[in-house]
């Protein structure tokens, strides 16, 4: 056997392995996303929507009249890249109303926010409810 034969095979193998490692690392780095606030923004959007819907009495009216049309109208006009739904629970955690944005499928992780609110009853008492909003990117 030629003396240099083993060395050459080893070297070629090393080059191949090195090249594979290089291209694998390079392709991995190319796929990294820069944005770091995408998930935080989803939580902010949930907070904004629930706070606003409580302040303009949409949540309270939805419970009072047992209707979801107002909430559905707002969810369908949110950002085109965000899927979302709102579920209203009674104080004993029973779901009362559910509204989901149609034609929308999540492709990433969800953000969930729960906000409690009260609805005045005809006898003057206040009933507590919870609104849970989930949001995710398409």
């Amino acid at each position: 056997m030629n003396r240099a034969f083993i060395f050459t095979l080893d070297a070629i193998l090393a080059i191949i392995l090195c090249s594979i490692l290089f291209f694998f690392t390079y392709s991995l780095l190319a796929r990294i996303q820069y944005s770091v606030v995408r998930e935080t923004i989803l939580t902010d959007i949930c907070s904004d929507v629930l706070t606003s819907l409580e302040k303009n009495h949409t949540l309270q009216n939805s419970v009072y009249y047992s209707r979801t049309s107002d909430m559905r109208s707002i969810l369908s006009n949110l950002s085109s890249t965000v899927c979302s739904n709102i579920i209203i629970y009674s104080s004993d955690n029973k779901p009362l109303l559910t509204t989901t944005r149609t034609d929308c499928n999540c492709t990433a992780s969800r953000s969930v926010l729960v906000r409690s609110f009260v609805v005045p009853q005809t006898n003057g008492t206040l009933s507590e409810y919870m609104a849970k909003m989930e949001a995710c990117y398409k």
């Binding site: 003396r3 240099a4 060395f7 050459t8 070297a11 090393a14 080059i15 090195c18 090249s19 290089f22 690392t25 390079y26 780095l29 990294i32 820069y34 944005s35 770091v36 606030v37 935080t40 923004i41 902010d44 959007i45 904004d48 929507v49 706070t51 606003s52 819907l53 302040k55 303009n56 707002i74 006009n77 949110l78 950002s79």
Partner: protein
């Protein structure tokens, strides 16, 4: 075997191998460094935009009557916000904010500083629109050489954040765009 044969084949081949591996490492190192740098720039931009928009929508500013002051600068105002309470917008404050931001020169720079967007080269625009897309207020600035939001929203030197708030009891979309020029 002649005496020089080992040097001329094995050593030269080894040198070529080392040079090849070294050049791969150099290329990879440059790529990693540029990605770290771009990621850090992007992170700062995203955080500055998110913080500025939170400040605008969730606070009334300091002092709360900043929109009624005759002079608005860093000595009279500590921070600006356009809400009367969290997520409820005040139309007087919006008017003042839009007027100052749309004026040229030091007023725009002052607003940037008060929003925490005072890094070199940062510029911003701002829009309030109804949920069906009608623009109600806007700070009409665009990055030089670009035509509109859609064309530069995906660039790594541009951050666009949408939030929601109440204006006159209706839900509106508030967008802040910040870019580096």
């Amino acid at each position: 075997m002649r005496k020089a044969q080992l040097f001329s084949e094995d050593i030269i081949f080894a040198i070529v191998l080392v040079l090849f591996t070294f050049s791969l490492w150099l290329i990879l190192r440059d790529r990693v460094l540029s990605m770290i740098s771009a990621g850090e720039t992007r992170r700062q931009l995203d955080e500055a935009t998110s913080d500025a928009l939170s400040q605008l929508l969730e606070t009334s500013g300091n002092p709360a009557n900043w929109n009624q002051l005759s002079t608005i600068d860093e000595t009279t105002v500590a921070s600006i916000g356009i809400a009367s309470s969290r997520n409820t917008l005040d139309s007087d404050k919006i008017d003042k904010f839009i007027n100052i931001s749309n004026s040229e020169g030091s007023n725009y720079t002052t607003i940037k500083r008060l929003l925490g967007l005072d890094r070199a080269g940062y510029k911003f625009n701002f829009t309030i629109s109804s949920l069906d897309g009608v623009t109600l207020y806007d700070v009409s600035r665009l990055p030089s050489g670009e035509l509109g939001n859609a064309s530069y929203a995906s660039l790594n030197t541009t951050a666009f954040i949408e939030r929601f708030a109440l204006l006159n009891n209706s839900l509106v979309k508030v967008t802040l765009g910040v870019w580096i020029e």
